[in-house]
């Protein structure tokens, strides 16, 4: 089996030096080539085996159901959700928060590749960054569906309360991160497609920028919550570090699963070593995450001040309201099981690793929504307890966005793999288009 040609592999460009092109012509040719590339990718996204088609069809159906639910919400307003004046943020913001975390997964891989020069992760970075791109797109969709007046979105451009409002920071860093990642992976993939060596100047600085940027998207999102004096549950300095730790666990865990799907479904061979590196990342991150969670619980419950009301509600229930208790303990059980599985001897066991990853992703997802966002609102600043249950319509919107995001991610991975394996190549250098 022919192994793939990494983008940084030997330059295969054989452009004859005898035909000096003017800059304009070169640009025109480049644009045309890029157009052809996009068109081929578009066509390719419809090509696949039966499983692929079923998967895509399923995702499309769910995405359309979500769109339908969102249209209903658009017409009637946010009454279609379970949110109230008491619990004024719900599933939308919870999913948003979780996905900001996923989006940073890419960096965790970038660091070993570019700082420790770990070769086997090189292509994984591309998959990680594609994941970042899809996650950020989902984030933006989740914020948009949460708005009461999406038709006034342009007000953001007219009166932007920067730098005072943390939300404006979030808008900036999220969109910036999206652009950075689109640039990096777009450039690397296109170079691979052209069969030439990427110029370091065009991506290495951006890669390093992206590392800092990824930390910033978390930190800013955490500050969104921790900066509110009205919400003692969020008003804690450990929120930002906890965000980072949990994200660095959930993101790479998702990649571990993706990589195996790619290995099964395509000719692309992810090196075994890569999985082990990812596994180490996940293990360390999850450990730190659980440690921070423990410190927070200690502070909340040992001091036993009146401020612990939200935490009490979350873990043990308050005044007869127990809505979140089963969720949070499920989440903790999942995370503890995951960490145990990771620390057990026998590192080669892939099934066990997968189980740990699934548990960890679910556990962290629950913890972001039911464990962080919702309890911040219970009890209210005036001490009232109102519970939150998402409605069917709201759930459909969430599922729709997830399906849309997975659709995007699948297509991105689908077209990237043949580029990396060399099946899809520019014909400009005389390589014929593959059948």
């Amino acid at each position: 089996m022919q192994s793939h040609a990494p983008p940084s592999g030997p330059a295969t460009s054989t452009r004859p030096a005898a035909t000096p092109e003017s800059t304009r012509e070169r640009w025109a040719a480049g644009a045309k080539e890029y157009g052809v590339f996009l068109f081929r990718c578009f066509r390719l996204s419809f090509v696949g085996n039966r499983t692929y088609h079923l998967w895509m069809l399923g995702l499309t159906v769910v995405a359309l159901l979500g769109l339908n639910a969102y249209c209903k919400q658009f017409v009637s307003g946010l009454v279609t959700t379970g949110m109230t004046d008491q619990v004024s943020w719900g599933m939308y913001i919870a999913n948003f928060t979780f996905l900001v975390g996923m989006a940073a997964a890419a960096v965790m891989l970038v660091i070993p590749v570019y700082i420790y020069k770990s070769k086997e992760l090189h292509d994984l970075v591309i998959f990680g960054e594609l994941l970042a791109v899809s996650s950020i797109i989902m984030c933006l969709m989740f914020v948009t569906v949460d708005l009461g007046r999406p038709d006034r979105f342009h007000h953001l451009f007219l009166r932007f309360n920067w730098p005072i409002s943390m939300l404006t920071w979030d808008v900036l860093v999220l969109n910036g991160y999206l652009l950075l990642n689109v640039h990096i992976c777009g450039y690397l993939i296109f170079c691979a497609y052209q069969g030439r060596k990427p110029s370091r100047l065009f991506y290495i600085p951006f890669v390093f920028l992206a590392i800092f940027w990824a930390v910033s998207i978390h930190t800013v999102t955490a500050f969104l919550y921790s900066g509110l004096v009205a919400r003692p549950f969020w008003n804690s300095a450990v929120v930002a570090p906890r965000f980072l730790a949990s994200a660095f666990a959930a993101g790479p865990a998702f990649l571990i699963l993706t990589v195996q799907v790619i290995r099964r479904a395509t000719a692309y061979q992810v090196p075994k070593q890569a999985l082990q590196t990812l596994r180490n990342v996940v293990t360390v991150a999850l450990t730190i995450h659980l440690f921070l969670l423990g410190s927070e619980l200690f502070t909340e419950f040992y001091t036993d001040s009146a401020h612990a009301a939200s935490a009490k509600y979350l873990f043990f229930g308050l005044e007869g309201f127990y809505g979140l208790v089963p969720w949070i303990w499920t989440s903790i059980a999942m995370n503890l099981t995951a960490i145990t599985l990771l620390y057990l001897p026998g590192r080669e066991n892939v099934t066990r690793l997968n189980v740990a990853c699934v548990l960890m992703i679910l556990g962290i997802w629950i913890e972001k929504g039911m464990g962080l966002i919702v309890p911040g609102f219970v009890p209210t600043p005036l001490g009232e307890i109102v519970e939150y249950t998402p409605t069917l319509n709201e759930t459909l919107v969430c599922l729709g966005i997830w399906a849309g995001g997975l659709l995007i991610y699948t297509i991105l991975v689908r077209v990237t793999v043949p580029v990396l394996t060399g099946e899809l190549r520019s014909d400009r250098n005389g390589i014929p288009e593959p059948k």
Binding site: V75, T81, D85, F153, V229, A230, R231, T380, G383
Partner: protein
Amino acid sequence: MKQTRRSFLRRSAAAATGLAAVAAALSPLRELEEGQMPDLEGFLQKHYKEMSEEEMVRALERIEARVEKDYGVRAQVSDVRAQDGVEFVYALNLSRCIGCRRCVHACVAENNQSRAPEIQYIRVLEMPRGTLDLEKGNHHYDHPTVPDDDHYYLPVQCHQCANPPCTKVCPVEATWTEPDGITVIDYDWCIGCRYCEAACPYWARRFNFTKPEIPKEEVNPRMSYLSNRPRPSGVMEKCTFCLHKTRNGELPACLEVCPVGARKFGNVLDPESEVRKILEKKRVFVLKEEANTLPRFFYYFDERYAAGGGPEPGGAPNHSLPADDVPKGSAPAGSGEHGEHGEGG
């Protein structure tokens, strides 16, 4: 040849199915009411602070037309501005308040809040004596008569903070504090992110989760841009100290209706005003002082109770009034006798 034709047909069929599915998904949009989406002029309307005089006039006309269309009422919508040398302050006498919730309902009637689902700006907490811990308060007390002897009553509404956390977080500057100290919202600018609602330590903000419903005969036709005009769906609203009244020298609706005179309101910059006297002479306090919001809403107990932190059971006001679940109009006028409780000033 045949091969390509068949595959062409297959692809067209797939594309048609796809389009039909998308159309079906979008179909709820057909129920959008006319006028629910802004027209071009509404879409281009500027932020309150940026509108010229003519633009404001046109905006007010648009609102009047909208109100007429939606509620069948000819309203007078004005844009009352803050006056120089005025800073409004509220003071609430907790020794007097009997928890009858009349202020809650007067506020709803005055400010054209949605009746279904009902939006209320004022929340009255029934507090056990001897504590200010809001978590111990009962929001949904429901006795045949009030006050209940073992409790005192703590009404909470927007505190019009001098250091408001709510305006800080708004991404589009749709909410701000006016020169006379009132925090307002431009309902035509708010994008409905509800960040300010999460940021308010007094739970003073309310969101329009759907289009407000107000029966035609209950609409208050005297409206202003920044206060009580009916709000669109999907935006935030809150108490504005009835600025359409108070900026014209009147008193807020909640004060006017209070049967025991527990509520005092005025310009703190005026040395002769009652609120100024209260602030100088009474032992006033604010809620959640540690949040450093610097409220313009003060609470106090009458002097004779001040040492004990609250009225003793025996010393509680000896009148009782029906609670708000009693039909309107059946309230005995029992407030006259309270005039003699002087302010001690």
